[in-house]
Amino acid sequence: MIVAERKPIEEIIEQVKDVRSLLVLGCNECVTVCEAGGKKEVGVLASALRMVFLQQAREVNVGERTLERQCDTEYLEELRDAIDQYDAVVSLACGVGIQFTAEKYPSKPVYPGVNTSFMGATQERGVWVERCQGCGGCILARTGAVCPVARCAKRLFNGPCGGSTDGKCEISKDVDCAWQLIINRLKALNRLQDYETLAPIKDWSTDRAGGPRKVVREDLRS
């Protein structure tokens, strides 16, 4: 899933300082799972904003809504009748949802209510970890399904650097060395010979380096 973090409320207040009405718009997908932008967080942020506006003696109408997905124009269409009631939208979706909302309603200011962080998963309640950088050229088959692009600080492809100590990365003793994890995993799979094979130099043209990416499936296009 896409993991996001709630923005500091001061930053959101600054973004909406001139509006007289705003819609706090949640998303029922990834940001609900990572507890940054689902229905519950919409309610919490809307209440907090109402209190702030009350303290500022400002009359601001704060609406609440949570869509099934903001990265889907069909669900965004559900806002069509309500959107004109508001000067602006604070979206608690990931950056994709925020931009799709803005593209759907071009004349409506849409502000981010979260910082979109990474593609990851819940490690334990309240802890989310990064697992994928969407580089467009998956090499997990070679690395025992542990990604050195997302998990090695230096994105190394042929074993650990000199900073790997006791299975930890040089950037922090709280960070596992991705290559130690890869070696452990290959050992467990009895495939340590994969580690001996030199990986080719990475093709980054499928990564973000070549500009915004697009996937086109001609067989699915109508």
């Binding site: 130099i201 990475k202 093709d203 980054w204 043209s205 990564d207 380096a209 070549g210 500009g211």
Partner: protein, 289 residues
């Protein structure tokens, strides 16, 4: 500092582009430069233009400076993060490479290393600010430098390019000037009329604009540019002239000379001559002006 001196006195400054070699054989680069060194103010050293891997601009600039030839070193943010950019700026200053032109740099997909990962840790405008910071005696982290560099900083402007609005160009140039850029190099210009709307909006006394004169090599090259490089406009009469000429290469040199003379007559403070591999033609151009 011949270039700075010319900018200050208003004497027309000719800057000749000198592409570093793809390899370690610097003989041709140095010998081409030496042939015209007394006729030009400085040599512009591109930073892997069109994202084609070559010797670094810093390396080539140091080679020419070592032989007493002044350079303008290009820098772009594509290939280095903020540590490397600052480190190379310090290295440049310590090796007498003081004139720096900060450029955008084409995406790696343009060049011969399509699989490269571009850096873009800082942007062009931010790099200009970084250079100001270094010149104040500190690095980006605020740590004091042991020895402060002093640069003559320039950048690019798309003034005169087809499909660009004069307002946006003026705004961008103002931002860059406020960040310390003192001279601005344009893309290849074949028609001075195209840059006039832009010139009307800038203070010519305070803003040093250096049009680029690109030496065409053939009719095919002119047609290719006209068809495939939408930001460069070549007037039909220029293409006609090359087509009708018996000695096309000679006609191309004549066109470059006439353009340069026109730029000088217009009151520009200098010109950049770009010969793209035909550096052996530089003497013919500079002597013809």
């Amino acid at each position: 500092m011949a270039l700075q001196g010319k900018f200050e006195t208003g004497e027309f400054a000719i800057i000749a582009e000198m592409e570093p070699p793809k390899g370690v054989n610097v003989a041709a680069t140095v010998s081409h430069a030496k042939r015209v060194k007394d006729r030009v103010a400085a040599f512009l050293i591109p930073e892997m233009s069109h994202a084609v891997m070559r010797m670094s601009a810093l390396g080539a600039a140091m080679l020419l400076e070592r032989d007493g030839m002044e350079t303008v070193m290009q820098m772009c943010c594509r290939d280095r993060n903020r540590l490397a950019l600052q480190g190379d700026l310090l290295a440049a200053a310590a090796c007498r490479v003081r004139n720096i032109a900060v450029v955008d740099g084409e995406d790696a997909s343009y060049g011969d290393h399509h699989q490269a990962r571009a850096v873009h840790d800082v942007s062009l405008l931010e790099l200009l600010h970084v250079m100001q910071t270094l010149q104040s005696g500190r690095d980006m982290s605020g740590v004091e430098l042991d020895g402060t560099p002093n640069f003559l900083v320039g950048s690019t402007t798309h003034a005169g390019a087809k499909g660009r609005s004069a307002e946006i160009e003026v705004e961008q140039m103002t931002q860059r000037a406020e960040a310390g850029a003192r001279f601005f190099i344009t893309p290849p210009l074949f028609d001075l009329e195209l840059i006039r709307p832009f010139l009307r909006r800038v203070d010519r006394e305070r803003t040093i604009i250096l049009p680029t004169v690109l030496l065409l090599k053939s009719l095919g090259m002119a047609r290719y540019i006209e068809r495939n490089m939408p930001h460069i406009a070549i007037p039909p009469e220029t293409i006609d002239r090359i087509q009708k000429a018996g000695d096309k290469a000679r006609e191309c040199v004549r066109i470059a000379v006439e353009l340069t003379a026109g730029i000088k007559a217009e009151g520009f403070k200098g010109v950049v001559l770009s010969t793209l591999g035909w550096e052996h033609k530089l003497p013919d151009i500079v002597e013809g002006i």
